[in-house]
């Protein structure tokens, strides 16, 4: 009898093990394509019956029985606006950029392959939680490790570097002027406003500036006008009154401890798989300074998510991320023969960060993909040579163009090479898409396989 009872327990345990939940964390700076990715992912999954997904192995083996969207347990989080995104695409517009957090849960029912597990349970299901949030807020993550003084120091180091240094003059001037006078509450408010304007200038500039902290200054969400956002970094050469210093530090700490920390704690705990989206094309367009800045920003982000023993993230949230996928979207903007070069470029850019994460025993993969394909590859004749280009509708003027964006290098470039080589990756508008079937894509199947493929035992 005892054996039978133990056996039953073991079966139950296995059973529970088979009904799995997986939390996918889609990280990426604003404009890196998170919303498009989630929309496309849901479209591929929900239309999987007739979809072409050859590299999602469970699907290729026709073991996927059905997929549906189900309600999730965190009822206070709004649902990801999938329908809105689809109808936006239908009317030839890109889905709106995210301004608040949202979630979606998808359940996939599949046939079990493993011959031992199959005897216990022929069918199983996998729940996938996908979370979308503004990319701007992600940049607050490194703040968790800083205090007001170290943050101020870091900020001014950053602000003196190209390309953002060109935009910082106004800010330097106002901070120097206003801090001379005794500061009242209204002065603080005014300076905070100016600080915010500087950040917005950086964000809106065409130079490709990424590390814009704190994120809520750009996209306050429900914090608009709250006094917690009334602080700013103070340069070390300016002496300010103790009272002011205390006030600023208090607000910074409040921001860090009561806004940033709960945000990451709530949404990034128990994340199993992390996908980091990077917009490589923008950097190639903007040149060397932007490249270096993005490289540093991403390294900071990746190592903040770090998985090692001594890291605060580990101590606090005990994450169990076991796979990091670094992906560059918009591959359809690049002629397909250059996709390998694009992947090599991405890999070269993040080689240090990748190395550090790999050292922790985390699998790292790099992929070049396109969530929603809006162009098609063509061969154009140019100077009696055939040139691999892409054809699509240009976003700016709605005209059909054929674009050769330039040659992406497979080896890291020197500063001189960066200045010699020009790129012209243009934005494309959404063409006519049939939304009742899967959205056209590049390699979404490979991403699905990398993200969740190993769960379909």
């Amino acid at each position: 009898m005892a054996i039978k009872k133990q056996l039953k327990q073991a079966v139950e345990l296995l059973d529970r093990g088979l009904d799995k939940n997986i939390r996918v964390c889609v990280t990426g700076l604003s404009g890196s394509g998170k919303t498009a990715f989630i929309t496309s992912l849901m479209s591929q999954l929900l239309h999987q019956k007739k979809a072409q997904l050859p590299f999602w192995l469970a699907h290729a083996e026709s073991r996927i029985l059905g997929v549906k969207q189900i309600t999730y347990t965190d009822l206070h989080i709004p649902e990801f606006p999938y329908k809105e995104a689809i109808s936006a695409l239908e009317s030839h517009q890109w889905p709106k950029s995210t301004i608040n957090i949202s979630q979606s849960r998808i359940s996939i029912k599949f046939e079990v392959k493993n011959k031992w597990l199959k005897r216990i349970q022929p069918h199983s299901h996998l729940n996938i939680d996908i979370i979308d949030y503004p990319g701007e807020w992600l940049l607050d993550l490194p703040l968790l490790d800083l205090n007001f003084i170290t943050w101020s120091k870091q900020f001014y180091e950053w602000a003196n570097k190209k390309p953002q240094s060109k935009l910082a003059d106004d800010w330097h001037q106002s901070v120097n002027n206003l801090l001379k006078a005794p500061s009242s509450e209204s002065d603080i408010k005014l300076l905070a406003k100016e600080f915010r304007q500087f950040l917005v200038r950086c964000k809106d500039s065409s130079e490709g500036i990424h590390l814009i902290q704190p994120g809520r200054f750009i996209l306050p969400g429900d914090l608009d006008g709250a006094p917690v956002l009334d602080f700013f970094p103070v340069p070390s050469h300016v002496n300010i009154s103790d009272e002011l210093a205390e006030k600023l530090e208090q607000r910074f700490n409040y921001y860090r401890d009561n806004i940033v920390k709960p945000f990451f704690k709530e949404y990034f705990t128990s994340v199993d798989r992390q996908l980091l989206l990077v917009d490589v094309l923008k950097v190639l367009n903007c040149g060397y300074d932007s490249y270096r800045e993005l490289q540093q920003t991403l390294s900071k982000l990746i190592t903040s998510f770090d998985y090692g023993q001594t890291n605060w993230f580990k101590r606090m949230f005990q994450p169990k991320i076991n796979k990091l996928i670094i992906a560059s979207s918009k591959s359809d903007h690049v002629p397909p023969e250059q996709h390998n070069a694009m992947r090599a470029f991405l890999s070269n850019m993040l080689i240090d960060a990748e190395n550090q994460v790999g050292y922790q025993g985390i699998d790292v993969a790099t992929v070049v993909f396109s969530a929603i394909q809006v162009t098609e590859p063509v061969l154009a004749e140019h100077e009696s040579k055939k040139l691999a280009c892409v054809k699509g509708i240009e976003f700016e003027n709605n005209k059909e163009v054929i674009n050769y964006p330039g040659k992406i290098p497979t080896e890291p470039m020197s500063k001189k090479q960066w200045s010699e080589q020009r790129y012209n990756f243009i934005d494309y508008a959404v063409p006519d898409l049939a939304t009742d079937k899967q959205l056209p894509h590049h390699r979404m199947d490979r991403l699905i396989e990398l993200l969740i493929g190993d769960k379909f035992l």
């Binding site: 359809d332 397909p336 023969e337 590859p377 063509v378 061969l379 163009v401 050769y404 330039g406 012209n424």
Partner: protein, 349 residues
């Protein structure tokens, strides 16, 4: 500079949507020479094949061959002359027969040669495709795969899976992805077909050997069945071999079996021996049957490896285990049936 960006108005330039031309040929040194023995290699260094061949032996071969041919011509000339002396009609008939024999012989030889050339070409395709998928090229594999599909279509109706492949593959896939898709969607079905053929022939010959009373008959059976199997498998993979070509194929399969066998044998031997010992407890003739069945299925799997345009990787390599199981089951069930009929006979007594 040609790698600077250019933007065209879509009306102003001529475009085509086809894939890039096969500009670069695969480097010759990427294609390894055909292996006839285990290579001597360490740390990426490899001993080249000895280029020296025995000059005396060559001389001997040529002169001996010419001697035989001359003798044959002389003999037949004399033979026909003698026949003419007897009767004109007889002479003409025999002469015509002789000519037709010579023509047919040459024809067979040449067509066999052509078909075995096709097998060699298949090997070069195999190497080309594997170098494409290792080097992550773009736009070269599609052409080769189309060529291979045409060859398949002459022997097997794969139009359905081929349509599925064409639907799945698009211009954004690079060569290694294309090859993978082709492998999964088209070749997988053919593999199943080939395995089924192997299973059929192996089981048949296992049964025949188990039932045949003569050792010499066993040998003939094995030779006959395995030759049929080679023909079937080579047809499934779109490079059918004639009797002459099959000899070349058999030689290749045998060398491969010897080379690959060493490692595979260690892995499989334990299981095989176990299977055999179970059978041996029943009858030694049955055990021989199972042994022959396994040998033939190993031959079959090696043939698959030679004929398949894309090399197997570790995941989709066909396993001997399943075939072995089906052979053993078949033979054992036959034994049981025999036992039952014997018992029935006893009961009747």
């Amino acid at each position: 500079m040609s790698d600077q960006p250019i933007k065209f108005d879509s009306q102003s330039v001529k475009v085509e949507t086809s894939q890039l031309d096969d500009a670069e040929q695969v480097k010759e040194d990427l294609l390894q020479e055909q292996q006839k023995s285990l290579p001597i290699s360490a740390n990426g260094l490899k001993l080249k094949k000895s280029a020296k061949s025995n000059r005396w032996l060559k001389w001997f071969g040529i002169s001996f061959g010419s001697l035989v041919v001359t003798a044959a011509i002389f003999e037949s000339w004399q033979f026909i002359q003698e026949l003419f002396a007897i009767s004109r009609v007889l002479g003409i008939t025999v002469a015509a027969l002789l000519v037709s024999v010579v023509i047919a012989g040459f024809g067979t030889l040449i067509s066999g040669r052509i078909k075995s050339k096709r097998l060699e070409y298949r090997k070069s395709i195999q190497q080309k495709l594997s170098s494409y998928s290792n080097n992550e090229t773009y736009g070269k594999a599609a052409k080769v795969l189309d060529e291979v599909s045409d060859e398949f279509l002459q022997e097997v109706d794969i139009s359905k899976t081929l349509a599925l492949y064409r639907q799945t593959a698009n211009s954004s896939h690079n060569d290694s992805e294309l090859i993978q898709i082709y492998n999964n969607q088209v070749l997988n079905g053919l593999d199943q077909l080939a395995l089924e053929a192997i299973r059929k022939h192996a089981t048949e010959s296992a049964l025949m050997v188990a039932l045949s009373p003569l050792a010499i008959a066993d040998m003939a059976l094995v030779a006959w069945r395995s030759s049929r199997m080679l023909q079937d498998i080579s047809r499934i993979y779109g490079c059918p071999q004639t009797a002459f070509g099959r000899l070349g194929l058999t030689k290749q399969v045998a060398t491969n079996l010897m080379l690959a066998g060493a490692s595979e044998f260690v892995a499989e031997a334990g299981v095989e021996l176990l299977g055999k010992s179970v059978a041996a407890a029943i009858s030694s003739k049955m055990a021989q049957g199972i042994g022959v069945g396994i040998l033939i299925s190993r031959l079959g799997i090696q043939t698959m490896q030679i004929c398949r345009p894309i090399e197997f990787d570790e995941d989709n390599k066909p396993k001997l285990g399943q075939i072995r199981k089906s052979i053993t089951n078949k033979i054992l069930s036959m034994v049981k049936k025999n036992d039952k009929t014997l018992n029935k006979g006893k009961d009747n007594d």
